[in-house]
Symmetry: C3
């Protein structure tokens, strides 16, 4: 079996350059461009690590990372777990079901307990927007938001940006279309913050009922999403025109029963990313999706599996990006 290389290789060489001081990753709204760059660069080194015969470095050996998921997840939890293990950390998984969380233990109590047990880092997903902020105020652990309600999913934003940059390089002036249920999407929000920070032009596209109030055609000038580089478009054909990236969001099928959409068929007819529409984008435009997909609803199967699709690449990059985030937070703390 091949020997693992010392972290003094690709990973440790970053230590000189980076000046990371952030303690938590809660959203991208307060990330500086330099911080995003630090994640990108470190993720590049982690991609190199993951390509090795034995894709492991002991950079976080002896650290304990807890994943605390109040909502079900396959990809995000597995991605963080693998990222942590690839860095040599120990991982303790806690799902809300099957833990004493069911007994009505408060979030505060739970996280203070996990800290007292010896966890240095907490990756959490919660149905309530803002929950990780509340937690971060009361713990010494590094807190990483793995998705909070409709609010934010910063590592998803970072892995999407990493994926775009690996294909397109500098994102300044790039046209990124995000289509779907913007109103209820933490993925859209985190992407918007990160992408506009890097100079991309973001077009959000949705039926008016799935836009945040402030973005609706008849709405008032809006906060927090009415950013300089964000435009709103309710016609997907127009939105896609000249796009460098088209990112489709998962349509939660319960939006239908809530009366926000007339029918799946109608939604697919007007907002599905399919081959015909994609032809209006730049040649070779990237097709992205945070998963899991409803193929045939927000995205056609042909487009989802086309050469332009980066959907599985996003998942793969997610591990490198999460390794980078864990690594930078651990270093910053020391």
């Amino acid at each position: 079996m091949s020997e693992e290389r010392s972290p003094a290789g690709a990973v440790a060489s970053l230590e000189v350059k980076s000046t990371w001081t952030r303690r938590h990753v809660l959203d991208l709204d307060d990330f500086s461009r330099a911080e995003i760059e630090a994640v990108m660069e470190t993720a590049g080194a982690m991609t190199e690590v993951l390509g090795r015969e034995v894709p492991r470095v002991p950079a976080l050996r002896g650290r304990t990372i807890v994943t605390l998921f109040y909502e079900a997840s396959t990809r995000t939890r597995a991605s963080f777990e693998l990222a942590a293990k690839a860095l040599g950390a120990d991982v303790i998984n806690i799902a809300a079901s099957g833990s004493s969380v069911q007994k009505g233990e408060s979030l505060y109590d739970t996280v203070r307990t996990l800290q007292a047990v010896g966890a240095q880092m907490l990756v959490m997903r919660h149905a309530s927007s803002g929950a990780p902020y509340l937690v971060a105020r009361h713990v010494e652990m590094n807190v990483i938001n793995g998705g909070d309600g409709w609010h934010a999913h910063p590592t998803q934003g970072l892995l999407d940006i990493y994926t775009m940059r690996s294909h397109l390089g500098d994102l300044r002036g790039r046209r990124v279309v995000i289509v779907g249920d913007i109103a209820h999407s933490r993925v859209a929000r985190s992407n918007i913050w990160g992408l506009t920070n890097l100079g991309a032009d973001v077009v959000v596209c949705a039926p008016p009922t799935l836009l945040p109030f402030g973005m609706r055609p008849d709405g008032a000038p809006a906060e927090p999403l009415a950013l300089p580089r964000v435009t709103v478009e309710t016609d997907l054909d127009r939105a896609v025109e000249g796009a460098d990236v088209v990112m489709a969001l998962r349509l939660q099928l319960e939006r239908m029963t809530a009366g926000l959409l007339p029918s799946l068929r109608e939604y697919a007819r007007l907002y599905q990313v399919n081959e015909e529409r994609l032809a209006r984008a730049r040649p070779g435009a990237l097709v992205m999706h945070p998963g899991p997909m409803n193929e045939g609803v927000e995205i056609s199967p042909a487009v989802a599996r086309s050469l332009q699709s980066t959907i599985e690449e996003q998942v793969t990059n997610g591990v490198a990006v999460r390794m980078a985030v864990l690594y930078l937070l651990a270093r910053g703390k020391a």
Copy 2:
């Protein structure tokens, strides 16, 4: 603490002889005799590893193995998890409950995601017969069927064979009786394929309602179980006559409510493996059961805990056999 020995010991010495090329272990129906022998021999080396002071070898260090279980399991999941850890692999457990599988994510999406996350091997259990075949067609990962519906459970078959051979040596001409709910048993199917391949004579014994259609006394000549070396018997006393092995299957209690059986008491009277019946077998005949048992239904407590019982030995051997399968698949891939 004692130092772990390099895999260049017992395990690595196999590398010269074996010519393993199989990428997936889905059932035993297409296993060659040489492949079964390769598993047996490798499992022997793994048994030696498991007997060490520190029963670990780093043969799969840096590999990620996912267990994806859509049906509940204690022994099979724990057995694979321990086998993987004993080989130095990292294990990520995903249970259908508590994962986004609940959200209606497709099996295809789930396994492609797990692959994209970086898993090299997938151990899966699914209620639908054939599900692992579907998966194997769409992934680069090595897929191991940990049980699919009524269809197959190949590592159970291999560990049963390993257990029989450790007591009986060559299985040619040995009489192996499998008694119970043959119709709905993946364990029976995988054992039948493996055992007949090795030249054993298999007798399946069940009430007609629990036999596959093609095996019923009034049925047509049947596929796939009407193999040359398989005979059907509805009388357990006759079946056990001269047996070298008597394997009782778990009776799923829901068969009763489905009207396939008059009563548990009636079933036990006619099909329980008990001391009286076992006396008709060869002296020292092995008593096997894949677990979990309904003691007092398909097997009497006295027989289950007798010296002839290999029931716990089967569980122990399961770890060595699964280590062997993981090891051979990992090597074949490199």
Copy 3:
């Protein structure tokens, strides 16, 4: 990254002194004072390990520890899991939901299977008092009771004692008040056994309906809790007078619906540990709680977060104490 020190350091130096022969930790009722001292001393060494840059020792490398929890838990399961990993052991977690335990597999079958799979140690929690005793009689594994019904929770008792001693030194003659639902509390029972053994004076305080029958004011002389050093008090103000330690127990809210209490408000008025009551204890008296807390019910928020509170310290000490227990059991077995 810093190198981990050999276990021949702080931990191994204990090997000379200790004469541990116990195979299971089921309750503290049969612990000798010397055994409690051995846990305390070993836990002290483990606290030192946990303070290192890389808080890991390979003392249990190659050992497999199973946590089998039939009741939900965050802190206890995570604490044992981290303790085991800090000692280099592999951990397999089994929750009753999501395992074949749901299928009606017997406890006997389950634990025999886990043993056959290769587990050397079993940490179990079960709703039935006495379940771990039953298990211990039928396995070679070391069994650790992680809580059985209302009966016992010995590692909680040990970590509470460890926490008291780290502040108070020798516990002889110390006044320890345990207030709350004594009748249904495994924490109270294990603490009473351990504390009285070490010479502490224990005062249990509860409304009569939450006292065990034998302790009720109108009750008969009682077993097993009518120990020489235990007194019963139904008035908290009197109980707290001169106390060195005040331990509040979690009030299970279902006691209300069972008619054992008039109302939460009434309970809090009479039995809440608050600042006013705490003023009657010795200056600097410790406030303890096994968690999770109902703040505002059995304990006031101000007291829970005061400098006198050791509640998070208890959790932290729990890891060291569980490391000690795992370590001593593993050594005793060799």
